[in-house]
Amino acid sequence: MKRQFQVRSLSLAIVFAVLASMVIFQMVRIQTSAEAATFLKQAERYAGKYVTLYPERGRIFDRDGFLLAGNKSVYEIGVSLAEMRNPHTIALTLNTVLGLNYEKVYNQLLNPPAELVYLVITDYVSSEKAHELMELQNRLTEEYRNTGDPSLAGLHFKAHLMRSYPERTLASNVLGFVTLENRGYFGVEEKYNNLLAGVPVTVWVPEDPNRAAELPATPRGADLILTIDREIQAMVEEQLRESLEDTGSEAGTIIVMDPRTGEILAMASTPQMDLNNFSQYNEIYKNASEFNRAVSMQYEPGSVFKVLTLAAALDSGAVSPNFSYLDVGFYEIGGAYVYNWDRGAWGPQDLLGCMRHSLNICMTHLADQMGPDLFYTYMRRFGVGHPTGIDLANEARGRLKVPGDTDWYRVDLGTNSFGQGVAMTPIQMMAAASALANEGRMVYPHVLYGMVSNGHQYTTPVQTLGTPISPQTARLVSEILATSMEQGKMASVVEGYRIAGKTGTAQIPGPDGFYVPDEINASFIGWGPVDDPRFMVYVWFEKPDSADWAAYVAAPVFHDVVEKLVVLMGIPPDNVRRQLAGQ
């Protein structure tokens, strides 16, 4: 009997030993087989997952450190199908809290795509709504324990960041916006998208906690500091909104720039949009050039262009400062006649009278004296027909017909001299006119003051686009313009401040190429104080209803802007400034 037990137990031991050996043999066989590499790959696939770490998008500040574009948390809401207990409760809750379609969510939950274990229901849910759902989920967990019915089990919340604009519409034309795909469109967001977005890092994250390691650092995108001054920007936008209503204009643009450095202090154009609701873009704008008219919309500037013609004529020596002529009311050039704005004859005139009365014949006379080669050489030097390179997306290049072009005729020399037949953007006009306010040097207009990346600040240096005219010419033209403004008692004059400026009323060509009666572009460009320019302001209204002349539409707005601007910039009246400088 004892022997029998011994035999049995031994037999059992042998069976187990054989089984164990077979297991070991099979392990060795599999690991050395031809399919071993495939199995290893499969194992690796389930041992972890590749995760792409997106850095936080860089922030955008104004020149004083106020946040213009930041980031905020939003939530992706999904359902783990294995954990889900009550699809009805989930669908009903999401319908009530988020307004999602009950039927759609319920059907999604009941009939998910094959082999799907996690179903994303919605994304970009605000923190408030997500926390409301989380709280409800916790409450229902206890309820479920007691009653076994309503349950939000399986509902998962995954937080991530998205762009947020705390100032809403402020500087919207300059900033641009970021879509859900984290790509910037328009303005700074598009121009500096790569810098702001940073570099995403893809890492393999093991499921095995033994192999867990610190995730690599993903430095946030660079923070940008703009030259925009929030206070000036807000003031300009308010003025623009008010004036747009007052003048009944279709659209408007106001730019404030420091002519010494090219820093844009404010840039506003209509319409504007709340950047947090960028989905309204298609409702607000008909085409991309409307987003920021200051850089993307080219138009015939009209008489503001005369400042460039005058500067070119004086600088080239084609005419002297003592130039005078007899205005007979018309001027023949290239077989066509050019008339003044009122079709009147203004008699003997000098350069001051030319600018004061904004005489087209005078400008044609100056351009004709210069000749096409010299005139267009100067216009090229002023950058007419070339983009300024401003660091904003979608800058239009403008158009300047020159001799040799198939559509250029001699009469164009005359019309171009007073700003018709030439297309420019407001920012091009400002860049060109900066030479007059800045001792002949044209500055590069820009909105990026500096950039902060990895603890270092890089400041944008002042760049000059060229020196089209001499300092003497620049000072002389500024003087003529300031005097003509004072003598003309224009609405743009600001008491206590000597300012140089020029109105511009331009007809608008229709689709057939002919000018449309009663439709004008009203502009004004001015800078001051004349002896030490600190600001340059450009005002442009499209198709105003209130008046037919820029002197009544744009000049008063310029005045209102400058009145507030000198306070915000802390610029004392000229006499006070001289007194203070003498102390």
Partner: protein, 184 residues
């Protein structure tokens, strides 16, 4: 005398039993029976020797258990640390999001529109050009340029530091090298 000493002492080593010459078994049953006979033979060994064998076996089992326990302990601690790392990573990400949220929230509270409304509700109004009086303040220089200093640059990985990767010998070499470096 300890079990180990007794095991190692030559005088009391178990007597190697001469292998009994056996015939080649003719079938499996015979082989199994023979194996059982060997066991029986072992059972018939003197009690002292049997105890020594048992002690040796138990010592081996204890050692194996000790090693297994140590391994289990280290593995468990590594796993816990790994989970802690994962949890801390998640916490860092959440904190970064919270920071971004708070910054944006503060900016919204301090937005131009909010501040203007608050100022107006408190009875303030924008200053007009002719209401401003300019005076010279000796020694005052208005700020010329905006300077933004980021509080801290993104640091390198903690795990990239040598303490987390080097072996004992590498650490020793580093210590010797740093000790032998001349003091400046």
């Amino acid at each position: 005398m300890t079990i180990l000493q007794r095991l190692l002492h030559p005088s009391i080593r178990p007597v190697r039993l001469a292998r009994k010459k056996t015939e080649v078994p003719t079938n499996t049953y015979q082989a199994v029976a023979e194996l059982a006979g060997t066991l029986r033979h072992h059972q018939e060994m003197p009690l002292r020797i049997q105890r020594e064998w048992l002690a040796a076996f138990l010592a081996l089992v204890m050692m194996a258990g000790l090693i297994a326990g140590l391994y289990l302990n280290v593995t468990a601690r590594t796993a816990i640390t790994g989970r802690e790392i994962q949890s801390l990573e998640a916490e860092i990400a959440a904190n970064k999001r919270d920071n971004a949220d708070l910054q944006t929230h503060i900016a919204a509270l301090l937005s131009n529109q909010s501040l203007s409304q608050r100022a107006r509700s408190l009875g303030f109004q924008p200053v007009e050009r002719d209401e401003v009086e300019y005076i010279v303040v000796p020694g005052y220089f208005p700020p010329q340029a905006a300077t933004f200093v980021q509080p801290m640059a993104e640091t390198d990985l903690l795990a990239a530091r040598p303490e987390y990767n080097e072996s004992l010998f590498e650490w020793l070499g580093r210590q010797i090298e740093s000790a032998s470096r001349p003091v400046r």
